[in-house]
Symmetry: C2
Subunit: 178 residues, 2 copies
Amino acid sequence: MATEGGDPTRIMVAVNESTIKGYPHPSISSKGAFEWTLNKIIRSNTTGFKLLFIHVQVPDEDGFDDMDSMFASPDDFKSMKHRDKIRGLHLLEYFVNQCHKIGVACEAWVKKGDPKEIICYEVNRVHPDFLVVGSRGLGPFQKVFVGTVSEFCTKHADCPVIAIKRSAAQTPQDPADD
Amino acid sequence: MATEGGDPTRIMVAVNESTIKGYPHPSISSKGAFEWTLNKIIRSNTTGFKLLFIHVQVPDEDGFDDMDSMFASPDDFKSMKHRDKIRGLHLLEYFVNQCHKIGVACEAWVKKGDPKEIICYEVNRVHPDFLVVGSRGLGPFQKVFVGTVSEFCTKHADCPVIAIKRSAAQTPQDPADD
């Protein structure tokens, strides 16, 4: 039953930027989930797997990020969106570079929207064998305020999901940070 | 980062008997979860992984299974427990034989109690890298009546958990069956 050759196992990995360092730095939990996947699943079998990185950018709800921006024409808005996209691509570059170094095939792309919903939508579109998501490992009280993408995906994504909790040693002072 | 040698990844797989065929037949969902693990995770890397099979026997709540039994002395009860244990071991034999055929290291053992609680207890004791559980993929209405071990473990087990849903094609007429 163990597969000698055949199609690689396609693992979707949802990644986001750090809330502390911002782009292009990956969040602690998505970096952890990625490294866990390499160390515990892929191991030395680099040709047996393909990683599919999805990064969902949250549309700016309060416009705070754009306080320093001038909008004088529709083109200014275009360039802003372009800039955000570029930042997202720099984030993905980190993961793609790591895969390239160790010889694991990968694809990576950026989407905009509500991360939990877009991830589930992309699972339906791309049909990975399973989905890996990082988790901050928040308690029930903390979750009320920040929401958890991993929990939503575990319930609603149409493929097996494995949530990798951030270790206690890596938890920043404010556990909502990542 | 990909591990060439080192300790194998230890995957705990929770298995149970079929509700239709009984011992020694594995349930559809636990057989499915096992085969998924072989095909999608272990693949050709048979030395990179070790499977830890846990089977939890539910103590007989209503005595129905023992309607044909005579209990005349404490020893009769002992032999009953022994017989149940033997049945559980025959179930595990199925999985151990499959592993042996393809050359994957494994361990297997039986416990008694509430499956969801014992599985989480065993996770704490054995510290697997992750836990694989089969799931019948029941809807919210069906779940009220039968409970779901996979959902409980996903929330409470102290390691990453991946629940593998039974495919629609394998679902028996009564979806609570397995």
